[in-house]
């Protein structure tokens, strides 16, 4: 899709900024709309400040005494360090083009979920504290005073944004609300205000290597269970390598693929692919039980925490002495790699520029990060005729594809997943144009929002996505939703069950695993889920 010009964008704006004074509407903290506060132990473990027990429903949030000073200094510091932050504070013309583009606004009808207002929550304080006009004119200049109410409002609404960047696509100035949410969350973190769904995975990841705190032996055991299952279905048992020094490629995927259905089937797909490539072409891939998490909830905490958690990927690649890193189907892991890794922890000069050893393709886009997305890798193999596939094994599936926000909008990965789908699946239907590719609607649960206690909010945020799935379900009989993000795979099954019963969820490499003809395999009766293959139902 060619991006529309600013003029086109302005001409299409049908929605306006709220006329009422939004500052006069007090924040109302509703159960079902916020995640539980962080376990103080998790915050302490990674050295985050002001760890304490507190409740969002209480009047007193037990803020540190000098909280105002902390926020002022924190903002000043970030205005100096992040040019984007300073610019985004100054340039919004409040045209309203972004106002109705957020899935949370579309679903909840809460005006403070309009991206422009979400930004104003921060901008009004910026004006009041840091601009002369704001200091003198106050409300007339869109400024307001820094109060405890403001902090509560920040916490409530910055954790109702999935940092999906859909709104930024429509802003004539390219203002990126995700960047502002990131800064907003950093500021709340300075006061010890976080959510447990983010803080505890961060602490686990820092200590054990993955969000769930699964220890190395258990990680290995799970993957071996998958190998048992694969053997049952195909008669072939992959022999994955772990922590192998001197392997060619280090493979890292989100731990969700190892521990949560239906991501586990996608994990089996990776294992089968690597086995196939080892047998046919001698490809040498290793898994790591230390870099056992591709996801990075540090990204939802602060730039520093993101950097800390991301570093283990490079450190492990260095320790093992691999040539480059291959990454699995994950969402925000790719945003971190694509947008931040190279400047935060790179350049990784000790790694080689990634080349597919089987096809000779140079992955130019990964020249600097040295990390390749598995759908690029697999699409390249298919394009060069390196995989034997029987797509009829997926004939029971009528598929549609959800562009996960981070790989699609965040890094422009649009064609490769579709290319693979078309080679492993006969029945594929796209959702309506204004809901896919760059304009894709978020699952409603990204950026650390996939907690059980906010299911109502997530289901409303996921409504625009589900509504488009329902359309292709009704029209073409779509029964499967594919995606390339572990959070998607975790949250879509219940979301579909609520809005579009009869639609199941899969990763792309599960489809690949089912279609891939392993050398020497037995005649398969079932797919990886143990369901009969087409024609074998009897």
């Amino acid at each position: 899709m060619a991006l529309p010009s600013a003029r086109e964008l302005f001409s299409k704006i049908s929605h306006r900024m709220p006329k009422r004074e939004w500052m006069d509407i007090p924040v109302e903290i509703k159960p079902g709309r916020y995640c539980y506060p962080a376990n103080p132990k998790s915050l302490e473990y990674v050295g985050m400040p002001y760890a304490r027990q507190w409740s969002p429903l209480d009047e007193d949030w037990k803020l540190p005494e000098n909280w105002m000073e902390i926020i002022r200094t924190g903002m000043r510091d970030r205005l100096d360090r992040f040019r984007t932050f300073k610019i985004f504070m100054d340039i919004c013309v409040r045209c309203g083009a972004c106002a109705d583009k957020c899935h949370f606004f579309i679903g909840t009808g809460d005006p403070k979920n309009m991206p422009v207002l979400r930004a104003e929550l921060l901008r009004s304080i910026y004006r009041g504290e840091f601009t002369t006009a704001g200091k003198i004119l106050g409300r007339f200049a869109g400024a307001r005073k820094l109060t405890e109410e403001v902090i509560k409002e920040w916490w409530y609404y910055f954790y109702q944004c999935t940092e999906c960047r859909r709104c930024s696509l429509f802003c004539p100035y390219g203002i990126d609300q995700a960047e502002l949410t990131i800064i907003g969350r950093e500021l709340t973190n300075l006061l010890g205000l976080n959510t447990d769904w983010i803080a505890t995975p961060v602490a686990n990841c820092y200590r054990t290597g993955n969000h769930l705190g699964i220890q190395p032996h258990a990680f290995k055991e799970m993957i071996e269970f998958f190998c048992d299952d694969i053997e049952e279905v195909t008669g072939i048992r992959p022999e994955p390598q772990f922590n192998k020094k001197g392997a060619d490629i280090l493979f890292i995927t989100p731990s969700g693929d190892v521990f949560a259905d239906p991501g586990t089937y996608t994990c089996m797909g990776y294992l089968m692919l690597f086995h196939y490539l080892k047998e046919e072409y001698g490809l040498d891939v290793t898994w790591s039980t230390y870099a056992s998490e591709g996801g990075n909830f540090g990204f939802f905490t602060s730039h520093e925490m993101m950097k800390r958690l991301n570093a283990k990927m490079y450190m492990e690649a260095k320790r093992l002495g691999v040539k480059w890193i291959l990454g699995g189907e994950c969402g925000h892991m790719w945003r971190v790699i694509h947008q931040y890794m190279d400047t935060m922890n790179g350049p990784a000069d000790f790694l080689e520029e990634p080349v597919n050893p089987i096809t000779g393709t140079k992955f130019e886009n990964a020249k600097s990060t040295k990390m390749v997305h598995i759908t690029e890798f697999t699409a390249d193999l298919i394009k060069h005729g390196k995989l034997k596939l029987d797509k009829s094994r997926n004939d029971n599936i009528i598929l549609t594809y959800h562009d996960s926000c981070n790989p699609s909008r965040g890094m422009g990965l649009l064609e490769e997943p579709r290319y693979i789908i078309k080679h492993v699946c006969n029945h594929f239907y796209e959702m309506p144009e204004n809901t896919i590719r760059e304009q894709t609607f978020c699952c409603g649960s990204g950026a650390g929002l996939n907690a059980g206690e906010i299911e109502e909010l997530r289901f409303l945020g996921g409504l625009p996505r589900a509504n488009a799935v329902k359309h292709v379900h009704d029209k073409f009989g779509v029964n499967m939703l594919a995606c390339i993000c572990a959070i998607d795979r975790a949250v879509f099954p219940p979301l579909m069950d609520y809005w579009v019963p009869g639609v199941d969820v899969t990763g792309i490499h599960e489809l690949v695993g089912n279609a891939l003809i392993l050398p020497g395999e037995k005649e398969r009766e079932t797919n990886l889920r143990g369901e009969p293959l087409p024609g074998k139902e009897g």
Binding site: G109, N434, E456
Partner: protein
Amino acid sequence: MDLYSLLREKKKTILNNWLDDLLSSYPPESAQFFKSNPNQFSNPVGNTFRLNLEKIYDELLQDKCSEKLPEWLDGIIRIRSLQELHPSLSLNFAFSLKKIVWNSLKKEIKKHNLYEDYYKFSQRIDELLGLAFDIYMQCREKIWSQKANYINSRVHKLLERAGYIKEVEAF
């Protein structure tokens, strides 16, 4: 003159008022968005409300409602039951139809003495309400059963992995 022909004649006004009444539970800027954006994909809430209210209204004008009626109600309630914390607010739209029909047609009802018809129509709305409550409960139960299943399956998996569970095997 009978009530049903009046209800058909004034359909547009009544539907408009009904939608406005439903949207009045939202802040004005959101209500305006829900009402004005006609794209079913970028405005699923507003479009579901508008289209389904009309379908429900048409059903109520039939001699006998078709089996489609629950589906139209479900579309609206599935959304409202997540947006509002209180059942009475979620289902307010079903209550309000009586008031809206009365306000739009009271002159004619009085003039042509159509009270009996109006009473019968009110009864149909009451039936609609009953159905609405059933659907509301289904939606909420779905949410709670999902939460319960999630916890159950997590705990079960952990126990299983830790070797604390041994299922009965066949002899």
